[in-house]
Amino acid sequence: MPLSIDKTIDIHTRALSLQARRAELLGANLANADTPGYKARDIDFRAAMAAAEEGLAGGPLAVTRAGHLQPAGFSPDGEILYRQPVQPSLDGNTVETQVEMAQFAENSVRYLATLRFLSGKFNTYLTAFRGE
């Protein structure tokens, strides 16, 4: 069986980019915790990851002319959804700082875990290459 480094590493890099995107979204939610009318956004990580694994996302279609469009609902990082608030505030803001903070912390731990997996993979290959 030929060794496919790309295949084993690819899933982790996809996870990393999704988690980085998610950190960006959650950071924006926290920055807008006091903005009237702001609706908290997030991505369904599980669905986005499943789509990436099955190759359903498949990457964006090639855009070679100005009129070319992406399929309806296409987003390179999975669909960006709206958070369902437990206690929305009167001014229409749906950011709940404690929820967002918990999600942000969880996301960053998962990011660090993915990094750990990736560096484990690198070490495995290094060991195999050296053949010691």
Binding site: L16, S17, A20, R21, A23, E24, L25, L26, G27, A28, N29, L30, A31, N32, A33, D34, T35, P36, Y38, R41, I80, T97, M101, F104, A105, S108, Y111, L112, L115, L118, S119, F122
Partner: protein, 138 residues
């Protein structure tokens, strides 16, 4: 690399919250600035926040930060107090007091400083994530 955007986003959040702290301190400092006419009396000021959209033309675009749309003056009526000893008193002995609610301002101050701290926390976490990414493979 999208993690760098987290710094910008948290930065806009910290800026907005510091404007809010600034107006709060201005309100508290002027809470007792009596004056002799309605026009010259200090009125409580509050910043109004709005989101910065990544793509302003998208129908449901995501935000990449927060900005201060403006600072509005409170429309609450001013208090008219009888205080003939005040050098600013008018002919009838009345002075006008600012419409600053000190208790409200204190609550506002705590809320602003907590939100500021949250943004600092976000920035620190993003920094940690980036530093670990940089040391990948070492």
């Amino acid at each position: 690399m999208s993690l760098f955007n987290v710094f910008d986003t948290a930065g806009t959040g910290m800026y907005a919250q510091s404007v809010r702290l600034n107006t709060t301190s201005s309100n508290l400092a002027n809470a007792n600035s009596a004056s002799s006419s309605i026009d010259q009396t200090y009125r409580a000021r509050q910043p109004v926040f709005g989101q910065i959209l990544k793509d302003p033309y998208a129908s449901d675009g995501t935000a990449v930060g927060v900005r201060v749309l403006g600072v509005v003056e409170s429309q609450t009526p001013l208090r008219r107090e009888y205080n003939p000893g005040n050098p600013n008193a008018d002919a009838e002995g009345y002075v006008y007091m600012p419409n600053v609610n000190v208790v409200e301002e204190m609550a506002n101050m705590i809320s602003a400083s907590r939100s500021y701290q949250t943004n600092v926390e976000v920035m620190n976490t993003a920094k940690e994530m980036l530093m670990r990414t940089l040391s990948l493979g070492q």
